[in-house]
Structure formats: C-alpha cells, structure tokens
Symmetry: D2
Subunit: 361 residues, 4 copies
C-alpha cells in the first residue's frame, strides 16, 4: 500500500501540493450505477472551503472540482473516478521568508530531513489543503452509504480551546461557521476567536463524528478491525493527536459493570463501545472523537533553526486558520465515511451469503 493511498476496496489515492497547480484524487472500487455529479462533491467541498468566515484562513479558493473519469451519463461505471481541484490563490511570495526556516510544530523539518528536499511553498505536501481530496472522496462514500444502507455520517465541534460545547441539535451544526452543535454558544465562540486572532496565537479543538444506522457486522478481526481502521484514518488527518471510540479514555476509570453495554431483545442499553465490539460494528451509532492540536503557524515569534542548522526565530504572517479544528468537521466525516464504505464492501465480499441470525428491536 502506497503512502498516498488508503482503503482496501474503496481505495483513495491523493496527490497535490499547497501551491502547486492542482490537487487531485482517484477513487477506486466504487460500485457502478451510483448517480454522481461534480455537484455532489462540490457540496461537501464548500463546507470545508477557506474564507467562509472571518475565523478561518482568508486564502481565496473556489475549490471547484472536476470529475475526469469513472462517471458516464451521470452514473458511476465501476471504473476509477479521477477528479481535479485547481489551486487558484498561490501567493507563494508569502512564504519566501520562511522557506529556509523550520516552523515549530510544522512538518518543515521532518520533510527536509527525510527527503533532503522539500516544496516549501505553503507547506507543500504537508499542507492541510490536501484534505480537499479526502472530502471529495468522502462525498462519494457518504452518498453511497446513505443510498445503499441509510447510513448517515455527521460531525460537530465538541470543544474549542477551553470551551466545551455540549451537543444540542444537528440543525444547529449547519447554522454556524464553527459546526457547533448549539447556536446559543456561537457568540461566545466568536468572541473567543476574535481575542485569539488578536493575540497572534492559535488554539486546539475536539471534533466528534457519529455514523448512524451502520449495519451490524462491518469490520474484520484482528488487525483489520473497523475501529483500528478508523483510528488510523483519523490520525492521518493533519493536526490530529488523539482518537477515541465510544467511552474512549474515560474507559480507564470505568468498572466493567459500568462499561460493558448490556443488551435486551430491543437492543443495547448503552454505547460505551462506540458501536464496535471485537473490531466489528454492533449496529449502534459509531461514535468517534478526535483531538486537534493548535495551528502551528502563528504570528508570535518562536525559536527555531534554519536549513543550515543555525538558531533563528520565525513568525508566520501568512493567511492561516487560527484553529484548524474549525474546518475539521467535514474532513473527519469524510474519513469516517471512507472507512465505513471500505468495510461495507469488504464485508459483502466475505459474508455476502450471511443473514445476521438475530433480529433486534
């Protein structure tokens, strides 16, 4: 498996750099017959687009996507779906001053040391702008999962820096630029972000994602577990430093009598497992939570070294998200959708003849 691909049967391959001519992706393994248009991808891309509020980067990108293959007369043909997103706003002059310095918290240093060469324009391959490919691929997965199984994948901002946001309603998530699940908190979030921006600093965030109506049985023991693949996919998102399923780290403090979800003929009585037991979906909601570190590019001066290994300082004045977590919700949804679709296909391959013996509810 190449490092720029993921998925076994629903396989996504990605290319592109922040200030190169374009990003693109190839989605392989999508079943034939799915209605699909540029618009299906664009709708999701618009949710993560820069410039949508004053709280995110002001880079101007329409993120217009063009499907180049794999769709004929509005339906997928079963062949590889190639798509392209041209970069439009490539002011790489912004970056010339930092091309020779390693920004703390960035991949500048590791790319330089690994490859002996790096595309320093705007983070190059390490830029979070690569997530356009994930979101586009996730849009296809979301659509197929919804049509074929009724699966619904949705996420929200659960914490912004120190501000925890309790879940109130899904419609709220769509109604504010933070993907916050409680509109009554938006003013507070805006004030926090305005202060943060003014301070020249950045903050972390927590994003929760939920997949509803996932059928029982998806996931493969013992290494190809559904939760293992979800964890890998989530940790591959830029800035993610932690992943939880269900009770997550809270499980450390739980007793077995509290954690183990009891069952009745109507179903499970709780969901500490997060919808996965033994690596296989239970039929409950799959619930995932991720920690995103604060943006590394900040205006405050920081100690670092340059490409010759000498001490220097760096301030980043480009157009950066003060909290990458704000735009992370659609990305996390996309990754979860891709993993679920991969496992839906894998399960069908091996167990296509099995009818689950027990009917709950």
């Amino acid at each position: 498996m190449s490092g720029n691909s993921f998925g076994t049967l629903y396989c996504v391959t990605s290319f592109g750099e922040s200030h190169g001519p374009a990003y693109g992706g190839v989605v392989d393994g999508c079943p034939p017959g799915l209605q699909l248009s540029n618009g299906d991808l664009q709708k999701e891309l618009d949710r993560r687009k820069p410039g949508s509020s004053r709280h995110v980067t002001q880079r101007r990108e329409s993120d217009s996507v063009e499907i180049l293959s794999g769709v004929f007369e509005g339906r997928t043909t079963g062949t590889a779906i190639g798509f392209l997103i041209r970069n439009e706003d490539q002011r790489s002059k912004d970056y010339s001053t930092i091309a020779e310095k390693f920004r703390p918290g960035h991949a500048d240093y590791t790319y330089w040391q690994k490859y002996g060469i790096r595309d320093a324009r705007g983070g190059g391959r390490a830029s979070a702008r690569e997530t356009v490919v994930r979101v586009a691929a996730g849009a296809i997965a979301k659509k197929w999962l919804a049509q074929r199984y009724g699966v619904l994948v949705r996420g929200y901002l659960a914490q912004l820096g120190p501000l925890e946001i309790e879940f109130k309603a899904w419609q709220d998530v769509q109604a504010n630029p933070f993907f916050a699940p409680d509109n009554s908190r938006v003013k507070e979030l805006e004030q926090f972000m305005d202060d943060l921006r003014e301070s020249g600093d950045s903050c972390g965030a927590r994003v929760n994602v939920v997949a509803e109506k996932v059928p029982v049985g998806w996931g493969e023991p013992v290494y190809g577990r559904l939760d293992a693949d979800i964890a890998g996919a989530m940790m591959s998102i830029n800035a993610v430093k932690g992943v939880e399923l269900g009770a997550g780290f809270a499980a450390v403090m739980q007793k077995g009598s509290e954690h183990g979800d009891e069952m009745t003929p109507q179903g499970f009585l709780s969901n500490n497992n997060g919808g996965v037991l033994g690596g296989i979906s239970t039929g409950q909601d799959v619930t995932v939570s991720i920690a995103l570190k604060p943006t590394s590019s900040i205006r405050l001066s920081r100690r670092t070294i340059d490409a010759r290994g000498e001490a220097t300082t760096v301030e980043t004045t480009g157009r950066h998200d003060p909290c990458v977590g704000i735009r992370a919700t659609p990305i996390a949804e996309a990754m979860l959708a891709c993993v679920l679709m991969d496992h839906a296909l894998r399960h069908r391959a091996q167990c296509g003849d099995v009818t689950p013996p027990v009917k709950l509810g």
Copy 2:
C-alpha cells in the same frame, strides 16, 4: 491487505483461537542475517504470560514458541518466519454455559451476526490470547531495531482504574507484575486489585509506550503517516478504546505558542508532538498512550440476550484478567516496534540515498 495481516514491508500474519490447537504467525520481510532463536521470542512471551501473578488470569499456559522457518544456523535468512504456540490449557467446558449467550462488552454478538457462526470456546478468535502472535512478532522487530538503529521500545502502566502512576524509573517497571514505573506504588495497586477481584468487577487502565532513538525521517505522507499507522496498530489491540501521540487530547486546551515545539541547534525544547510531525518521525522519543477498557468478563450478573434473541442474564466465572491492561504493556510495545520496523524498511526503500542534511546536537 487481509484482516489478519498488518504491515507493508514488515508484515505479520496471525491465526489461532483461544481454545483451538494452536496460535501461529508468519513474519515476512525481516532482513537477513539477524541472530534469532526461540529464546528471543520466548523472553517477550514470558512477559505477557498468564498466571505470572494473582492479579491476572490463572489459565496455565507455558506459551512455548517454536520457530518453524526463516532461520538457518541461528540467523534469519530473509524468508518468511513461521512460528507456532500450542495451546495447552483448553478447558472449554468452562465456557459451555455461555456458548449460547452474548456477553456484554464482548465480541460474541458481533461475530455471531457477521459470520452466522462462531467459535464460542473462550472467545474464539476474539480472545486477547491472540496477542501472543503480536508479542512474538514484536520481539523480532525489537531486536532488529535495537541492533540496527539502537531504538529502544519500552512501556509501562500509567494508570490502573482511578490510580494514576507517575513515571519514576524504568527499572521499577521490570520489578513488579503490573509494569508500574514506581515500585513504591505497588502495594497500593495490589490492594486495589485484591478488592476489585473480590467485588467480582473489573477495571480499565492506561498504558504508555515510548520508543527512544528513533531516527528522523520515518513515516510517509499523507495516509501512511507513522502516527496514523501507530494509531491503527494500537487500536487493533483488544480492549483499546483510545490512542494519543505526544500531548494527545491535552492539545485541545493548548495554545499554539505552548504546543509547537521550539527548536535550537541542540534539538527540540519540548515534545508535545510525540516524536512525529507531518506523519514523519522527528528524532525525538515517540510517545504513545492508550486507554484499555475494563475486562468484559466479570462475575457480576448482567442483562443480555441469547442466540435466539431472547432476554437472559450472564455471569462469567472462567479464569479472566480483572484488568486486561496489566498484561497490555508488552503487547503495546510489540505493536509499536512492528510499526517502527515497517517504516524503517519503507524509509530505506524510498530514501536510502538521502543523508539528512541537518545534524542536531
């Protein structure tokens, strides 16, 4: 990639059930010329062996491993290393009463629904006993990493239920059956476990793993990130519900000016990133933390359903670990070692001609 294999170049394939005749594994991709004997594997297997203290399962297994291929006159030949661990204590009568019930928190229900059939003896394939294969494979990886790069992979119990254990010294870890990094806490842990066992309940745990002297440059953008592969590997361990690198979930509350690790010509000034930036190792310690849920098999009675979907209750009276986290340290070490070795080989393949341009220190 099959669900029972993991790794791209250092590839581990696993088979076996808790009460079948044997577990076994195949390690493919190990470089030739490494001195290797059954004893190298046995040493690590003995660290996770059942019955080593009263705080873990009393199942009697010598976990004797036999290397069947890939080693000639004491050295690896570069061909597939097959090994076998016979099961000795297979009292499957212990399990007859629960064969028709789904134990809360277990994979009983999901296997049954996925496959329409399951080996119910002692958890079958879902048993944590499968981790013998991981530990054996990890032993080879550890040895090669140490000899070739000086990499040292070690872990410890950081929290037992509510009891946090601050790190004191590595030698302490080897001196108690909990892998606790502070011998002065052992009495307290023993008391806690005795009480827990008596209560018929179980508890969760947190295990930390550290890899020292990992060279800069291991890991592949953008999906084959070192941290993504670590997260997937860790989450594939039985009972793991959460994975963190570096600051982990604490990063949510950090500011960028606090999180982003500054650099000087002598190296990094902190390690919030956990040894990985942009998916590539920084040369710092790789620090990982995992949450293990409480053992699902407890003596307390719990509501559940049977194979016909009808309501019932279940108590588990077999020989189970009251805290699976206690024996998890060698397993987590093994998984980290396997991922690191895989990436060492992957890095050498692509970047074998690169000399890291900057020398720190």
Copy 3:
C-alpha cells in the same frame, strides 16, 4: 503486499523450507459456513505427493496436513485458517556436498547474492516442496468455488518433453501418474521417462488448466485483470517460464477475423480469448497453458562456481523429479482456483448489486 502472500481478499500466506521442521500456510478471507476438514486438503495434497510413481522423486513424505484454526465443528468460521504440514524425510546429508556450490538452473546463486545467507538444505525456501501450501489453499478455493458457483477447475499434462498429448478425456487424467489426458499414451510416456532417468537428464513439460462454469464478470480493469492475476500466479510456480491464455502465442499468427470470438444469442462461437476479455471473465471456460522448464537437478556433470566464486563442477544425486511438470497439474489447478476465488469475492464486493443484464443460451 508481502512476497510470501498472494491474493487480495482470498489471501494465502506461506512459510517453510524443504528441510526445516514444517511447511505451513494461512488462508484469510474464506467465507464462513463452508464445510471443511483436514481430509478436504489431504485429498488434493495426495495428488501432488512425492513417491506416487517411479517417475517422480522418491522422497518419503506423507504430507499430512493439520488445520489449526478457522474451522469450528466442521465449518469455516470466517477467521484465518492456519494449517501445518510437517516435513518427515529430511535427509539433509544428501545435500552437504552441494551446499557450497551453485547448481545451474537453481536459485542457489540468487538467494546467496540477495540475502548473503541461504538455507542450502534441499533448496531451502526455493524448493518446489513449497507448493504443498498452494495445493492446500487451492483445495479450499476449489471446494468453495464448486459449491457456491459450480466452478470446476481441472488440469492435465499437455506435453512431456517432445511428446504432445492431445486431450481425450478427463477420466483418463485421473487414471495415470502423469495426469495425461489419454491413457493410450501412457506406455509411451513411461518408456520416455525410463530412458530419461537412465540418461541422468531431465525434461520440460506443458500443463493446461481449465476452469469451467466461471460466471461472467470476474476480474478488474485495468491492472487487476483476471488474466493478469492468473499470469502472475502461474509464473510464481517453480520452474514455470511461460503462460498463455486462450490462443496464447498462436494469436500472433491469427487474423482479427479469426481470433475475435463471434457471439450469438446462444453464446460465443469460439474461445480464442481463453475466457477473459478486457480482463473480465466472459462466462466461457478459462483456459490456461504453462511451460515448465526441465528439472535443474540432474546427475550429469555441469560447470558452475562455488561460494567463493571459483570454478567447479556439480552433479546432483539426490532424489529429484526428472520432470517437475509431472506433479505440476494439481499445483496449477490450485493457483487458478485461488485467483478465481479472490476475484469472485472482489466482484461480489463491488458489484454485489448488479444482475448481468444479458442472459445467453
């Protein structure tokens, strides 16, 4: 993908050396619920067993197979199927004289140069005895393909050295130790082999394999073609130097008007394509032909070099097949069956909702 594994969804992993303690394999991805016993594997292993006639190696091996996992109460559970075949007749003294020489036509030299070390006992990992694993894995695939789709995979010896053997009847194939499809030719073949053995030389062979009742639609464009995977699988068999599908090399001399198989509502009028068009099965017989080189181990003296690079000669006096092609039929069948099963699962994964629009016949 590791070098000792093959298949994407029906994935076979192999280990073992000619004179090590055992060969073994892991079959991952087999659907659950298939009735399976050691006997199912043994039946196929007995067909390739040494010592079954005076025309093949006289090494004494019962090739007894033991399934170690993945089967419960006589049925596959969907988890990894591990199996073991102990080596019994390991007279490695036979080989001591050649341990320091590179036998012409053997892998001695290439293993030595690649790995800097080799298990020289009887060819080590390069021994054709490794095909026991393939045959065992193929036995499972054959059984599932037959039960699920009615697919029948059979092969025969089409040429022994200079002697072409026209196909007469499948029952003849089972009635002689050559897998020759015409019993009336057996005497001639025996005479040829007796003369060959006496001469101290060896000969090549051609084996044909046919899969009947393969449904239309298996195979993936453009690199994962059914015929591409068949070619790779066949060429991976020891001693194979050429692979053909359908008309094969004869297609070079054909006109398009002759080669392109015409269709009527009843089906195809010919099968020059060999059952595959555009990499996808047509529903016709899949017909494959392979060329096997003459055994490299011969009694005649040959010029070669030793491990120090110095000139010497070598004669091989061990117990070798004078024509490896004679025992190749069950091996080629096994490889074809494994590839077909892999693609059956892959097709079901992606196209499980498609009903082929056209009904022929």
Copy 4:
C-alpha cells in the same frame, strides 16, 4: 490493492476513459531528488503516440502531459507525482452505431455484464489508450533505473503476423515506425500492413523486451517473484495473451542439460532462465517476450449480439490500429521498467545491508 493501481513501493494508479476529458496517473514512492520534467514523460509518450505513421490509428492526439505534483524546482520531492493527459480528439459520434452492440474480441460484453453499465465511447476504460498512463509512469522508472543502476530497458517488434524479424541492431529499432530491429525488413512490413489494411482485417504480433544491467538480487520469493510480477504486468497490457521469460515455451522441449545455464567465474554461459532464477534476478539480461492478439476492431462484418441479447452483425469503421502490436513496444518497456523499479526499492528495503558475497567477471 485496487484494480487500477499496481506496484508495492513504486505504485502507479491510473484513471481515464478513451473519450472522457482526460487520462491521468499518480506515481507514488519515487525516491526524492530525481531530475524530472514534463519533457521526460513526453519523450516516451511520443513514441507510442497515434498518427505517427499510416500503419497505426489516425486519431489525432498530441498526448501532452502535465505534471501536477511531486516535482519542485525540477526535482522529485518524494511525494506523489500526479500527471494529466487531456484527450483532444474525441469524435464519439464514430462510435454511436456500435454503442448497443458487443464487438467480438472486445471488452464491451464483459463490462456490460459486470457493471450493468458501460462507457461505450471508443471502448471507454477498456481502450488501449489507457496505456498513456503506463508509458508516463514507465518514463520515470526508466530514468531512475538508468541513473541509479545503469539499467537499460528496451524492446522491439519480434514478429508481425506471420513475419518473424530477427534482431539485428538497437539503432534500427529507433529508425522505423514498427520498432523493428532490422531496417532491411521495413519495406516488407510496410507492404504487409498496406495489404492488411486494404483487406479490412488485422493481425497479431510478438514484442520482446530486454532489461540490461539489472543487478543480482531483485525479486522476492515465493509469490512476489520478479518473474511473477513481470508476467502479471505484461498480461495486464491490452491484447496480450501470452508471456515468456528466457527460453519460455521452448523450455518444454529442452533437456535439463541444455536449459540449466552453466556458470564460470566470468558469469553465466547462457541465458535460458531470462535473467531470473527462483524469482530473483541473476544479474543477466532480463528477457521477456509477449504475444499480442490481432486488433478486435476490424472493418469485416462479424456476428454478434446487442444489449438486448439479440443477434446482429457489426463492422468497425473507426480509426483503429490494424495491429496493436506495432505501438506496444514502448508500453511493454514501461511495464518492465515499473516492475523493476518496484523490486529495486523492495530489495533495498529488506536487504539494504547486504553486499552480494560473490563478484563475477
């Protein structure tokens, strides 16, 4: 592994249809620091370009390639190399009459039955025009192999229909539109092709490819053999029906004393093995031969069925190569180069510390 990707470490992913907007590819795993420009790819693409003589299709395509990522300031960065080739001459009206018929020898029928839908414009995904992606990816592999190891991959037309062409000189191959290795035969070939075109029929071909200066040691036992991967790669090329290494099918008639290549301290005395023993390169030339079937699209009327399964006839009047083999040489070279590069990287990963113990010559 997805069907539209190939290679483990040098991994090529392809998308595009004959009459869609573009073809494109992603090359992952290329080492950093290789000088690379559009021109490097264009040079090879021009060798397979349509319209270069009257003997091939007259479709007008400049096949202009644009590298979109993975190259910075003229050098590869080690990240994924995306490239695009826009389709220019998409006269799909040419194909309207055959959209509802299955052309004999084409993938029309199998795509239709597999997917229930197909892009019928000019063969869609099954068109041999997809090989632009292979040639572009192969250009990168060729350049790296040549610079890093001095490996030279070259091919030629060995047979055109009934006309065998003996190898005379490499410079002749470049001097005629047939890639024929003997300029004195060109007139004869031209006459043959003119007659063929006039007859409305097509013919098959044989192409030979040779890789010189391949180091000893590339290839992995037992399924990841170098020859197995070559066979799979070659058979994945459109129209290929047979693959040989070294003596190939001639090995059937050889004696062991003739086939097994003897060695002296100066090297091998013959090359019946085709540069591969036990799946590992010997250091000799890797010699491959492939059979290409005659073009299926011919002007002569042929019996077939339509999408409703009813009898009809079809004549193909579009712009087709009367012999696909003529343009196959650069494609076969590309596939061989990609496989070799993949194995160069795989070998370096596992055996990077091994120095081949024996020095020949």
